[in-house]
Structures are given as C-alpha cells and as structure tokens.
C-alpha cells in the first residue's frame, strides 16, 4: 500500500495538490493533455492505490481519503467550484457524501460500479454505465483478477465525457481479495449537467 507520505511526495500530481497552493497545482497539471476531471480514492486500501496509480496519469487532480469519509467534502467542493467532473473509487459512505454535495450543484451520477467480493476469490462487478461500454469492459474486468481497479481507472477517461443512457450490467469474476480490502467498494463518476 502506498503510504500517505509517498502519495503526497510524488506518486500523483494531484496528491501534491492538497499540499500546494492552488496556483501551483494548476501549473503542474495544465501541461497534461487530459480531460478535466478530479479523481478521489481511498488510499487506506490496496484497491485505492491501484486505482490511483492508473488514474493519476489522466486526472487533473487526485485526492486521497482516510478513515473520516468527511475528507471527501473539500475535494468535492474544489471540483464543483470549477465545474470539473469527478471520478472515484471509494467506500459507500464517501460516495454518499460526494453525491449529495455534487447533486445539489446539478451534478449527475453518470457511472457507478459496485465491486463486491462474494468470497475471498470471487468478485461481483455491478456496473451502471452507458450501453456501448458494456461489451468493452467485460473482458478486461474478467481477465484483470485483483487488478480490476486499474481497469476501472483506465475506463474513467473514456467514461467521463460520456453521456449515454445508463444500463445495469452484472458480471462475476475471479479476483483474489487483498488482505486489507474492505470487500465492498464503489467506483463512480459525477458530471456537471
């Protein structure tokens, strides 16, 4: 697991973001050819770190969460103030707070994935996403095993600008549960209307 210190030091531009003045963050990220979205992940868990490693290359800013789900609130406030989309891999509690705050500003939940370990070797991915992504996501998720957060993170870049009608899709895959995994995480995208 990436420690908080490493996370802030260099893994992600965005991790640095919370420690630097906003101007410095923008300067650091403007050079990146990315779609403007912030990413939020729960770095207490290996899945959060996996997600972070992949998404940090694409995100405008990345925020790490800790035991207090309320730590998501300033991150949402930052993104909403500037009208950026927000992608996350978090616990349900953090999503609840994020969604309530963003929805009040007119944001829509345009993608949601529920990732639920059915056993220590098996995971169910319950995805609500644009119909055209169904086929493309299934195979990589099944093949990913416990690296599924990286697949989800990769998908974020394509999903963020998406605005398709949502359909629900469930699939079960083999995936070894990390020892410290909570066994139930949610990935999500909130977009301005």
């Amino acid at each position: 697991m990436i420690s908080r210190r490493e996370f802030l030091r260099g893994g992600a531009v965005a991790g640095i973001a919370s420690a630097l003045p906003a101007g410095a963050v923008i300067a650091a990220t403007q050079a990146k050819p990315t779609i403007a979205f912030d990413a939020i992940c729960d770095t207490r868990y290996e899945e959060g770190d996996q997600f972070l490693r992949t998404v940090s290359a694409q995100a405008y800013r990345v925020h790490g969460l800790d035991t207090d789900p309320g730590s998501v609130m300033p991150a949402i406030a930052d993104a909403v103030a500037e009208g950026r989309s927000i992608a996350g891999l978090t616990t349900d509690a953090a999503l609840l707070l994020a969604d309530q705050l963003a929805a009040a500003e007119g944001y829509k939940l345009t993608y949601k994935g529920v990732h639920k370990h059915l056993s220590d070797d098996q995971i169910e991915h319950q995805l609500t996403l644009g119909q055209r992504w169904q086929a493309s996501i299934e195979k990589p998720l099944i093949e990913a095993d416990s690296a599924w957060p990286e697949v989800i993170a990769s998908l974020m870049t394509t999903l963020v600008p998406d605005n398709q009608p949502l359909v629900e899709h469930r699939l079960t895959a083999t995936a070894k549960r990390h020892p410290n995994s909570p066994g139930h995480l949610v990935s999500w995208i909130l977009q301005p209307a």
Partner: protein, 526 residues
C-alpha cells in the same frame, strides 16, 4: 419524466402554483421539471424501493416574507410543502418528503447566525445553519463557547433540535437547551415564543418561558408551523476536558454498566451525554465486515473476539467525559474508577492511550463540541449504503437495557443482520439506537430490512418501548403505537392540525399526523 403529484392536484394547477411561487421569490430558487438538482432531495439509503418519496419540486425561500408568499400560494392550490433545514439525517429520511410529489421547502438560504452572545452563552440562528457553520464561526471569531453537534456535523442545528436529537456534551439534550423560537404558521401568522413575545425584551434567549402556555414543543416533531429562528444555549469552554473510554469484556456486562451509570448520571457526576456502545459500532468506523467474515448472516462470535483483540475494544464500550478544573476532574475520575471501572474485566482508557484510535478520536471531538463526519464510516460495515435507525426509549436500568438488547439482537440475527447499536444515556432515560445496515444493491436484503424494522416497532411497543423518532416510512406505524386511551393524543394532534393548518398544506403525514383531507385515506384514528 413527469413529476409524481398528489392525487388532488392536476398538472396544470401544480404548474401554475410553482410559477406563482417562482415569481414571488425568484425563478432561480425553484427546482422542478427534471432539474438534476432534484436528485439531492431523495432518500436513497432507506428500506423503501427505488426513488421512493421523490419531491415534485423544491423551493428555497430567503426569509419570512418569502415563506409567507409561498404559504399563500400553497394554501390557494393546496400544494403540500415539506420544510427541511439542511435535510442531512439519512438514517431517518434525509431531505425526502413523507410522500412523493410534495414540494420541499428548503430553508438552506436562511443560514444566518443572527447573534452570538459570549457573556450569556447563546446563539440565535436560522434553520439553515449547520453545526459545521456555527463551529467555524465560533473558531474564527475566537469565541470561547462550545456547540453540541450531532454526530454528522453537516446537520442543521434547528432541524436536529426540533427532531429531539441528542448530542455528546453536557448540553446533549438539544431541545432542553433551546431558548426561544420564531414561527410562521401555515396561514402566514408570525409569532415568537417565550420572552420573544415582549417587543422590547432582552431576555428572549436567556429565559425559556413567557406568560401563558409554553408552545415551543408544539412546533417540534410536528407539522403545525415553520420555525424560522431559534435560540440555542452554548456551553462555555471549560478550563479542562478529560474524555475517557471504559471497555467491558462480556455482553452481559450491559446490565451492570447501566445500573452503575444511572446514579452517576442522575447526580451529574458524569455531566455529558454518555454512550454505551456495542463492539461492532466502534469497529465499523474502522473496518468492514468482510475483513473478518465473508459468510452470510450475522458475524460469528469468533470474529467478534478477533475484532476485540485487534482493536482493544470491549463487547461494550462506555464513552463519557469530565469537564472543569483539573483537580476536580481527577477527583471525579477516581469516582468513575471506583464504580464503572470496578466492574470485573473493565479497563479505563485515557485519550493519550487511544490517540491513534479513530473511533475514540471522533467521539472525543464530539464530546468537546467539535463536529466531524467520521461516524458516517459505519455505513461501510456491509457496503451498499442502506441504513436506518431504530430508536426506542427506556428508563436507565440494567433490566431494560438487556431486555431491549436481547430482543433486537435476536430479531436482527433471525433476519440475517448484525446487531449494531448504542445506548445514549441521558439523565434518567436511554435512547437505544440500533443501526440497521443493509446492502441496498441487494433487493431481497432491502425488503428483509424493511420487514424487520416494522416487526421491531410492534414488538418494542408491546414491551413498553416507544420510538422517539423514526424514518419517514414508519411514521404512521410508530404513531399508532402511542395508543393510550384510544389514540387520544393523536386525535388531539389531528385537532391541532385542523386548527393550525385547515388546508393541510404543511408536511402532511409527518409523525403520522394527517390533515383532514387526507385522513380518510391514511389515518387510523377514526
């Protein structure tokens, strides 16, 4: 998608009424017609299916005149209004209305801190003021007063107080600590309670009574008026603060803990809102169930033992705090050690010993009036977001505590859920809060949770335990249990409703109080 509307309101009438309200207060303060912001007024975490209780519109007034204008139009068209302050308590329904199609009257713009008096230790606030907001105001202005927050700090002071919420400092009985209200009745009449009714008074926030009947209670947990200002007493910052935790090894210890704590509370040896907390409540702030158990049903005792060992927790964990000059606190702590600490297997922990414990730390913050959101982490115990609180009241006796605990635990286990609960110990009573957590992405589990909750209400009532507040979906059922003398109290509530709100526009059905025109369909009292 067209909004669901109350069955007595045509789409044309609704549209006209909303347009008139928008003209009265400004179009930008009205949300309807599929506006994505409507999504934030759902209750997506309850035992109800899908997006139950979705409002048809939201309107956000900025003051008394706006409210009066809205009420006038609502009366004309009989538009049902559902007032909320911040609408953040998702264990009881959040911002969602009692029935789909109501118009939420969101008081979030009325978020002014009108006065803070450090000498007399009170604040006068509007309903949109959150605990975070008042706390930050006091910090920023270096005012040495403490608030008493609800566990989720984003909640509203007025809303929580009107719903009889409890907190963690010595000012934990919020309604007891309020002093003076300003209220708008459904017909637009504006009045103030207590000393506030005297035009030149300086005593509105220092003396709770006036001359004549005390009406404040009539406007708490009711649908008779809209509270637009409220005074709250604040606690002067004490010269010392000492939070502590005592862990207990056995489930049965709940009885002796409760018997021991009662005289300490009644005699104010323990001055604050103390809590006897179940193992899983404390653990769930930090870990999920699947980290210890991946099977179906309630977590087994072997896993509970492992959690106790890993996190140095007890089957029961008693949190309280002492306040005052350090020598006084030391003396009182010795009394605590000689009583609660003398129960076999008890261990008393200081703040220093639990400085890395997230569960201890968030409670230590709450007991010194520092709002936070850590308790929301409980929701991650099973994942899936579903949670609803069952909250029966009892006297502070060991027998009642064990009876409630065993009854609720037995039923929750039968239905495949963990018992996750705590007892908030007041001066003479206990609020037992059982947090029913379920995976809302599992339809069968959601239905099972709903069924269990309904069963608990009836069984608790049969044993003499009434709920002090409940989720929207169960308001009628709980109201029905307060049935002494052929539901005399609810019949009186209905008479008051008819007198205050003859058109039945304000929060119809809240607390099971229905207006005359909806009574035939919903009420059980006649």
């Amino acid at each position: 998608m067209a909004a669901v509307l109350p069955d007595w309101l045509s789409p044309q009438q609704f549209s006209t009424a909303i347009d008139e309200m928008a003209n009265a207060i400004g179009k930008q303060w009205v949300i309807h017609d599929g506006d994505p912001k409507l999504r934030s007024y759902r209750d997506s975490f309850s035992t109800l299916p899908g997006d139950a209780n979705v409002p048809s519109a939201v309107i956000a007034p900025d003051g008394i005149e706006d409210i009066q204008a809205i009420l006038k139009i609502a009366n004309e068209y009989r538009v049902p209004l559902w007032p909320i302050s911040t609408g953040r308590n998702f264990a009881y329904g959040g911002p969602a209305p009692r029935m789909p199609g109501y118009v939420v009257l969101d008081l979030k713009r009325m978020n002014r801190i009108l006065e803070v008096n450090e000498e007399y230790a009170y604040a006068l606030v509007e309903p949109g003021v959150s605990y975070f907001q008042l706390y930050e105001y006091l910090q920023k202005n270096n005012i040495k007063l403490w608030i008493d927050p609800a566990a989720p700090g984003w909640g509203g002071i007025v809303g929580n107080t009107l719903e009889h919420g409890v907190g963690y400092t010595p000012y934990g009985d919020h309604f007891m600590m309020h002093c003076g209200m300003e209220v708008v009745l459904p017909d637009g009449t504006l009045f103030r309670t207590g000393q506030g009714s005297l035009p030149e008074t300086e005593s509105w926030q220092v003396f709770q009574y006036g001359f004549g009947p005390i009406l404040d209670g009539v406007f708490s947990q009711s649908n008779f008026g809209i509270v637009t200002k409220m005074g709250m007493w604040l606690m002067p910052e004490p010269p010392g603060y000492m939070p502590f935790l005592i862990t207990y090894e056995n489930e049965d210890d709940l009885a002796i803990i409760t018997e021991t704590v009662r005289p300490l509370k009644v005699n104010m040896v323990i001055p604050n809102g103390a809590f006897t907390v179940d193992l899983l409540w404390d653990a769930a702030v930090k870990v999920s169930k699947r980290q210890y158990y991946s099977g179906k049903g309630p977590i087994p005792d072997s896993a509970r033992k492992k959690i106790m060992s890993d996190y140095k927790l007890g089957q029961w964990n008693f949190y309280a705090a002492l306040y005052g000059p350090p020598p006084m606190m030391e003396n009182t702590l010795q009394v605590i050690r000689d009583t609660l600490g003398a129960i076999p297997g008890a261990r008393l922990w200081t703040a220093e010993e639990r400085k890395h414990d997230a569960a201890f730390q968030y409670r230590a913050k709450l007991m010194r009036g520092e709002p936070n959101m850590t308790e929301f982490g409980l929701m991650n115990w099973v994942g899936g977001g579903g949670h609803i609180n069952f909250s029966p009241i009892s006297p502070t006796t060991g027998e009642d505590a064990m009876r409630q605990y065993e009854m609720i635990k037995k039923r929750s286990h039968e239905y495949g859920f963990d018992y996750i609960g705590e007892f908030a110990v007041g001066w003479r009573d206990m609020h037992h809060v059982y947090m029913l957590m379920f995976d809302r992405t599992d339809e069968e589990e959601r239905q099972r949770a709903h069924e269990l909750f309904g069963l608990l209400i009836d069984e608790a009532a049969a044993a003499g335990y009434g709920e002090y507040r409940t989720h929207l979906a169960f308001m009628d059922q709980v109201a029905k249990t307060y049935s002494w003398n052929d539901h005399a109290l609810w019949k009186l509530n209905e008479r008051l409703k008819d007198a205050f709100d003859p058109n039945g526009i304000l929060a119809p059905g809240k607390q099971g109080i229905w207006p005359a025109h909806m009574r035939e369909k919903h009420s059980w009292t006649s």
